[in-house]
Protein backbone atom coordinates (compact mmCIF):
# COMPACT_ATOMS: atom_id res chain seq x y z
CA UNK A 1 0.00 0.00 0.00
CA UNK A 2 1.49 3.28 -1.22
CA UNK A 3 0.88 5.17 2.04
CA UNK A 4 2.86 2.62 4.05
CA UNK A 5 6.02 3.23 1.98
CA UNK A 6 6.16 6.97 2.62
CA UNK A 7 6.52 7.66 6.36
CA UNK A 8 4.27 10.29 7.92
CA UNK A 9 5.81 13.55 9.11
CA UNK A 10 6.59 13.58 12.85
CA UNK A 11 6.86 16.05 15.72
CA UNK A 12 4.14 18.44 14.62
CA UNK A 13 4.02 21.51 16.81
CA UNK A 14 2.87 25.12 16.67
CA UNK A 15 5.24 27.96 17.58
CA UNK A 16 3.33 31.13 18.26
CA UNK A 17 4.87 34.49 19.03
CA UNK A 18 2.93 37.77 18.99
CA UNK A 19 -0.07 36.18 17.30
CA UNK A 20 2.02 34.76 14.44
CA UNK A 21 1.46 31.00 14.43
CA UNK A 22 3.92 28.71 12.65
CA UNK A 23 3.31 24.98 12.32
CA UNK A 24 6.51 22.92 12.03
CA UNK A 25 7.31 19.20 11.70
CA UNK A 26 10.26 16.91 11.09
CA UNK A 27 10.93 16.54 7.37
CA UNK A 28 10.43 13.21 5.62
CA UNK A 29 13.74 12.35 3.94
CA UNK A 30 13.79 10.40 0.66
CA UNK A 31 17.31 10.60 -0.77
CA UNK A 32 17.44 12.41 -4.09
CA UNK A 33 13.74 13.25 -4.01
CA UNK A 34 11.70 16.35 -3.12
CA UNK A 35 8.91 15.46 -0.72
CA UNK A 36 5.87 17.76 -0.60
CA UNK A 37 3.51 18.31 2.29
CA UNK A 38 -0.15 19.27 2.65
CA UNK A 39 -1.60 20.87 5.76
CA UNK A 40 -5.21 20.85 6.96
CA UNK A 41 -6.81 22.23 10.09
CA UNK A 42 -9.94 21.93 12.18
CA UNK A 43 -11.33 24.08 14.94
CA UNK A 44 -13.32 22.91 17.91
CA UNK A 45 -16.46 23.38 15.85
CA UNK A 46 -15.34 20.91 13.20
CA UNK A 47 -14.44 18.35 15.87
CA UNK A 48 -17.75 18.48 17.71
CA UNK A 49 -20.33 19.55 15.16
CA UNK A 50 -19.27 18.23 11.77
CA UNK A 51 -17.86 14.82 12.67
CA UNK A 52 -14.29 15.98 12.55
CA UNK A 53 -14.01 17.38 9.06
CA UNK A 54 -10.77 19.00 7.99
CA UNK A 55 -10.18 22.20 6.03
CA UNK A 56 -7.22 22.78 3.68
CA UNK A 57 -4.86 25.39 5.12
CA UNK A 58 -4.87 28.79 3.44
CA UNK A 59 -1.24 28.70 2.28
CA UNK A 60 0.13 25.16 2.53
CA UNK A 61 -1.28 22.74 0.03
CA UNK A 62 1.70 20.92 -1.53
CA UNK A 63 4.70 22.79 -0.13
CA UNK A 64 8.25 21.47 0.11
CA UNK A 65 9.41 23.11 3.35
CA UNK A 66 8.55 21.47 6.69
CA UNK A 67 6.78 24.53 8.09
CA UNK A 68 3.58 26.47 7.44
CA UNK A 69 2.33 29.91 8.54
CA UNK A 70 -1.13 29.07 9.85
CA UNK A 71 -1.88 32.54 11.21
CA UNK A 72 -4.71 33.13 8.72
CA UNK A 73 -6.31 29.79 9.60
CA UNK A 74 -6.63 30.50 13.31
CA UNK A 75 -9.20 33.27 13.65
CA UNK A 76 -11.12 32.26 16.75
CA UNK A 77 -10.08 31.71 20.35
CA UNK A 78 -10.82 27.98 20.49
CA UNK A 79 -8.60 24.88 20.33
CA UNK A 80 -7.36 24.02 16.84
CA UNK A 81 -5.83 20.83 15.49
CA UNK A 82 -3.60 20.44 12.44
CA UNK A 83 -2.68 17.48 10.31
CA UNK A 84 0.13 17.07 7.76
CA UNK A 85 0.91 14.37 5.27
CA UNK A 86 3.81 13.86 2.88
CA UNK A 87 3.40 13.23 -0.81
CA UNK A 88 5.93 12.03 -3.37
CA UNK A 89 4.62 11.59 -6.87
CA UNK A 90 1.46 9.53 -6.46
CA UNK A 91 2.47 8.24 -3.02
CA UNK A 92 0.97 9.82 0.05
CA UNK A 93 1.83 9.12 3.67
CA UNK A 94 -0.63 8.78 6.49
CA UNK A 95 -1.73 11.98 8.22
CA UNK A 96 0.04 13.11 11.38
CA UNK A 97 -1.69 15.41 13.87
CA UNK A 98 -0.69 17.64 16.77
CA UNK A 99 0.04 15.97 20.08
CA UNK A 100 -1.55 18.95 21.86
CA UNK A 101 -4.27 21.16 20.43
CA UNK A 102 -3.38 24.81 19.94
CA UNK A 103 -5.31 27.85 21.15
CA UNK A 104 -4.14 31.30 20.10
CA UNK A 105 -4.56 32.60 23.63
CA UNK A 106 -1.33 30.73 24.44
CA UNK A 107 0.73 32.85 22.05
CA UNK A 108 3.94 34.26 23.52
CA UNK A 109 3.69 38.04 23.86
CA UNK A 110 7.11 39.69 23.88
CA UNK A 111 7.56 43.07 25.47
CA UNK A 112 7.63 45.71 22.73
CA UNK A 113 10.77 47.15 21.17
CA UNK A 114 10.62 50.89 21.66
CA UNK A 115 12.65 53.79 20.23
CA UNK A 116 12.72 57.09 22.10
CA UNK A 117 13.75 60.43 20.59
CA UNK A 118 13.45 64.16 21.25
CA UNK A 119 12.54 67.08 19.09
CA UNK A 120 13.25 70.16 21.13
CA UNK A 121 11.08 69.71 24.24
CA UNK A 122 8.94 67.04 22.58
CA UNK A 123 9.36 63.46 23.79
CA UNK A 124 8.70 61.06 20.93
CA UNK A 125 8.28 57.29 20.98
CA UNK A 126 8.05 54.66 18.25
CA UNK A 127 7.05 50.99 18.53
CA UNK A 128 7.63 48.11 16.17
CA UNK A 129 4.66 47.30 13.97
CA UNK A 130 3.28 43.99 15.29
CA UNK A 131 0.12 43.91 13.18
CA UNK A 132 -3.56 44.81 13.60
CA UNK A 133 -4.16 42.93 16.85
CA UNK A 134 -1.66 45.02 18.83
CA UNK A 135 -1.98 48.23 20.83
CA UNK A 136 0.64 49.65 23.18
CA UNK A 137 0.00 50.71 26.75
CA UNK A 138 2.61 53.39 27.50
CA UNK A 139 3.35 54.45 31.09
CA UNK A 140 5.53 57.54 31.60
CA UNK A 141 6.50 59.90 34.38
CA UNK A 142 8.78 62.79 35.17
CA UNK A 143 11.63 61.71 37.42
CA UNK A 144 11.03 64.05 40.35
CA UNK A 145 9.53 63.75 43.82
CA UNK A 146 5.78 62.96 43.88
CA UNK A 147 5.49 63.26 40.14
CA UNK A 148 2.38 61.79 38.53
CA UNK A 149 2.42 58.60 36.45
CA UNK A 150 0.72 59.10 33.09
CA UNK A 151 -0.74 56.57 30.63
CA UNK A 152 -1.30 56.65 26.89
CA UNK A 153 -2.62 54.00 24.46
CA UNK A 154 -0.79 54.01 21.16
CA UNK A 155 -3.09 52.35 18.65
CA UNK A 156 -0.51 51.12 16.18
CA UNK A 157 3.19 50.56 15.79
CA UNK A 158 5.43 51.75 13.01
CA UNK A 159 4.96 55.51 13.44
CA UNK A 160 6.56 58.22 15.55
CA UNK A 161 4.17 59.39 18.25
CA UNK A 162 4.49 62.47 20.46
CA UNK A 163 4.25 61.47 24.09
CA UNK A 164 4.83 64.59 26.14
CA UNK A 165 6.03 68.19 25.99
CA UNK A 166 8.90 68.14 28.50
CA UNK A 167 10.05 70.87 30.84
CA UNK A 168 13.56 72.21 30.32
CA UNK A 169 16.23 70.08 31.99
CA UNK A 170 13.77 67.54 33.44
CA UNK A 171 14.21 63.78 33.12
CA UNK A 172 11.37 61.64 31.87
CA UNK A 173 11.05 57.84 32.00
CA UNK A 174 8.95 55.55 29.85
CA UNK A 175 7.99 51.87 29.79
CA UNK A 176 5.41 50.02 27.66
CA UNK A 177 3.60 46.72 27.16
CA UNK A 178 1.57 45.35 24.27
CA UNK A 179 -2.15 44.70 24.59
CA UNK A 180 -3.99 42.08 22.48
CA UNK A 181 -7.70 42.58 23.07
CA UNK A 182 -9.05 39.57 21.19
CA UNK A 183 -7.32 37.18 23.59
CA UNK A 184 -7.60 39.61 26.53
CA UNK A 185 -3.91 39.45 27.36
CA UNK A 186 -0.93 41.80 27.51
CA UNK A 187 2.85 41.38 27.48
CA UNK A 188 5.31 42.14 30.23
CA UNK A 189 6.57 45.73 30.38
CA UNK A 190 9.79 46.44 28.55
CA UNK A 191 12.92 47.98 30.07
CA UNK A 192 12.37 51.50 31.46
CA UNK A 193 14.07 54.14 29.33
CA UNK A 194 14.74 57.72 30.45
CA UNK A 195 15.67 60.91 28.61
CA UNK A 196 16.61 64.40 29.79
CA UNK A 197 15.04 67.44 28.15
CA UNK A 198 17.41 70.08 26.84
CA UNK A 199 18.11 73.00 29.13
CA UNK A 200 16.36 76.36 28.66
CA UNK A 201 17.77 77.87 25.45
CA UNK A 202 19.61 81.12 26.43
CA UNK A 203 17.90 84.37 25.39
CA UNK A 204 19.70 85.82 22.34
Amino acid sequence: DAAAILPAPLDLSVHSINMKHILTWSPVIVPGKIVNYSVEYQGEYERYYTSSTWIPSSWCSSISTPECNVTDDITATVAYNFRVRATLGNQSSAWSTLKELFNRNSTILTSPRMKMSKDGYHLIVEFEDLGPYFEFNVTYWRKSPNSQVLYKIVREGGSLVHLETMEAGAEYCVKAQTIVEVIERSSAFNQVECVIAQDESPLL
Partner: protein, 152 residues
Protein backbone atom coordinates in the same frame (compact mmCIF):
# COMPACT_ATOMS: atom_id res chain seq x y z
CA UNK B 1 -11.60 44.83 19.01
CA UNK B 2 -13.67 43.21 21.72
CA UNK B 3 -17.31 44.14 22.26
CA UNK B 4 -18.96 43.91 25.68
CA UNK B 5 -22.38 42.36 25.23
CA UNK B 6 -24.88 43.04 28.00
CA UNK B 7 -27.54 40.31 28.19
CA UNK B 8 -29.34 41.20 31.40
CA UNK B 9 -27.01 40.23 34.25
CA UNK B 10 -24.86 38.22 31.87
CA UNK B 11 -22.03 40.29 30.42
CA UNK B 12 -19.61 38.75 27.96
CA UNK B 13 -16.94 39.98 25.59
CA UNK B 14 -16.79 38.79 22.02
CA UNK B 15 -14.39 39.31 19.11
CA UNK B 16 -17.11 41.23 17.30
CA UNK B 17 -14.80 43.08 14.90
CA UNK B 18 -13.15 39.89 13.70
CA UNK B 19 -16.50 38.19 13.15
CA UNK B 20 -17.85 41.17 11.27
CA UNK B 21 -14.79 41.30 9.01
CA UNK B 22 -15.07 37.56 8.33
CA UNK B 23 -18.74 37.94 7.37
CA UNK B 24 -18.08 40.96 5.16
CA UNK B 25 -15.74 38.71 3.14
CA UNK B 26 -18.53 36.25 2.32
CA UNK B 27 -21.57 38.57 2.40
CA UNK B 28 -21.72 39.28 -1.32
CA UNK B 29 -21.21 35.62 -2.26
CA UNK B 30 -23.71 34.16 0.20
CA UNK B 31 -26.40 36.83 -0.20
CA UNK B 32 -26.18 36.46 -3.98
CA UNK B 33 -26.96 32.75 -3.52
CA UNK B 34 -30.20 33.72 -1.78
CA UNK B 35 -32.62 34.48 -4.59
CA UNK B 36 -35.68 34.58 -2.36
CA UNK B 37 -36.04 38.26 -1.45
CA UNK B 38 -39.60 37.92 -0.22
CA UNK B 39 -38.77 35.82 2.82
CA UNK B 40 -36.74 36.63 5.87
CA UNK B 41 -35.77 34.47 8.86
CA UNK B 42 -34.47 37.03 11.40
CA UNK B 43 -37.33 39.52 11.39
CA UNK B 44 -37.31 42.85 13.19
CA UNK B 45 -40.26 41.68 15.27
CA UNK B 46 -37.92 39.15 16.91
CA UNK B 47 -34.94 41.48 17.40
CA UNK B 48 -32.60 40.64 20.27
CA UNK B 49 -32.29 44.25 21.43
CA UNK B 50 -36.07 44.54 21.83
CA UNK B 51 -36.20 41.46 24.03
CA UNK B 52 -36.70 41.83 27.77
CA UNK B 53 -33.17 42.21 29.28
CA UNK B 54 -33.69 39.27 31.64
CA UNK B 55 -34.46 36.95 28.71
CA UNK B 56 -31.81 38.17 26.24
CA UNK B 57 -29.21 35.71 27.42
CA UNK B 58 -31.49 32.73 26.86
CA UNK B 59 -32.71 34.05 23.51
CA UNK B 60 -29.12 34.69 22.37
CA UNK B 61 -28.12 31.19 23.48
CA UNK B 62 -30.94 29.79 21.34
CA UNK B 63 -29.76 31.84 18.37
CA UNK B 64 -26.17 30.64 18.77
CA UNK B 65 -27.29 27.04 19.03
CA UNK B 66 -29.51 27.53 15.96
CA UNK B 67 -26.53 28.69 13.90
CA UNK B 68 -24.19 26.05 15.31
CA UNK B 69 -26.58 23.11 14.94
CA UNK B 70 -28.55 23.98 11.84
CA UNK B 71 -26.77 26.55 9.72
CA UNK B 72 -22.98 26.39 9.69
CA UNK B 73 -22.71 22.62 9.51
CA UNK B 74 -25.27 22.34 6.70
CA UNK B 75 -23.88 25.07 4.50
CA UNK B 76 -22.29 23.40 1.48
CA UNK B 77 -19.71 25.07 -0.71
CA UNK B 78 -16.83 23.98 -2.89
CA UNK B 79 -15.17 27.37 -2.43
CA UNK B 80 -12.31 26.88 0.04
CA UNK B 81 -12.10 30.55 0.94
CA UNK B 82 -15.81 30.70 1.81
CA UNK B 83 -15.49 27.46 3.74
CA UNK B 84 -12.64 28.85 5.84
CA UNK B 85 -14.62 31.98 6.64
CA UNK B 86 -17.67 29.96 7.65
CA UNK B 87 -15.43 27.79 9.83
CA UNK B 88 -14.00 30.90 11.45
CA UNK B 89 -17.47 32.25 12.18
CA UNK B 90 -18.62 28.89 13.52
CA UNK B 91 -15.63 28.60 15.85
CA UNK B 92 -16.14 32.18 17.07
CA UNK B 93 -19.81 31.36 17.78
CA UNK B 94 -18.67 28.27 19.66
CA UNK B 95 -16.30 30.35 21.74
CA UNK B 96 -19.14 32.71 22.64
CA UNK B 97 -21.48 29.82 23.44
CA UNK B 98 -18.89 28.45 25.88
CA UNK B 99 -18.70 31.84 27.59
CA UNK B 100 -22.49 31.96 27.77
CA UNK B 101 -22.44 28.59 29.50
CA UNK B 102 -20.87 30.32 32.51
CA UNK B 103 -23.88 32.62 32.76
CA UNK B 104 -26.15 29.62 32.50
CA UNK B 105 -24.22 27.85 35.25
CA UNK B 106 -24.55 30.95 37.43
CA UNK B 107 -28.31 30.95 36.87
CA UNK B 108 -28.35 34.33 35.11
CA UNK B 109 -29.56 33.00 31.78
CA UNK B 110 -33.24 32.59 32.52
CA UNK B 111 -35.56 31.31 29.76
CA UNK B 112 -39.01 32.84 29.83
CA UNK B 113 -41.99 32.99 27.53
CA UNK B 114 -40.70 35.80 25.37
CA UNK B 115 -37.41 34.09 24.53
CA UNK B 116 -39.18 30.82 23.73
CA UNK B 117 -41.83 32.53 21.62
CA UNK B 118 -39.33 34.55 19.59
CA UNK B 119 -37.08 31.56 19.01
CA UNK B 120 -40.05 29.46 17.91
CA UNK B 121 -41.00 32.18 15.44
CA UNK B 122 -37.52 32.21 13.95
CA UNK B 123 -37.49 28.44 13.68
CA UNK B 124 -40.81 28.49 11.88
CA UNK B 125 -39.56 31.10 9.36
CA UNK B 126 -36.56 28.83 8.81
CA UNK B 127 -38.60 25.65 8.43
CA UNK B 128 -41.02 27.25 5.96
CA UNK B 129 -38.23 27.10 3.41
CA UNK B 130 -36.61 24.05 1.89
CA UNK B 131 -33.48 22.92 3.67
CA UNK B 132 -30.65 24.31 1.54
CA UNK B 133 -32.51 27.58 0.76
CA UNK B 134 -33.08 28.08 4.48
CA UNK B 135 -29.42 27.47 5.34
CA UNK B 136 -28.19 29.89 2.67
CA UNK B 137 -30.72 32.54 3.75
CA UNK B 138 -29.85 32.19 7.45
CA UNK B 139 -26.13 32.48 6.72
CA UNK B 140 -26.76 35.55 4.56
CA UNK B 141 -28.70 37.10 7.43
CA UNK B 142 -25.74 36.99 9.82
CA UNK B 143 -25.35 40.73 9.34
CA UNK B 144 -28.83 41.15 10.76
CA UNK B 145 -27.76 39.16 13.84
CA UNK B 146 -24.54 41.20 14.03
CA UNK B 147 -26.65 44.37 13.85
CA UNK B 148 -28.79 43.07 16.74
CA UNK B 149 -25.58 42.44 18.69
CA UNK B 150 -24.39 45.97 17.97
CA UNK B 151 -27.60 47.38 19.38
CA UNK B 152 -27.65 45.19 22.49
Amino acid sequence: GLKRLHLGNCVLSMNYQEMRNEFLEIKGYVQAEDGNLDKRILKSSEALQDTKPTERCCFFRHLLRFYLDRVFKNYQTTNHHIRRKVSSLANSFLGIKKELRLCHDHMICHCGEEAKKKYTQILSHFEELDAQTAVVKALGELDILLRWIEKT
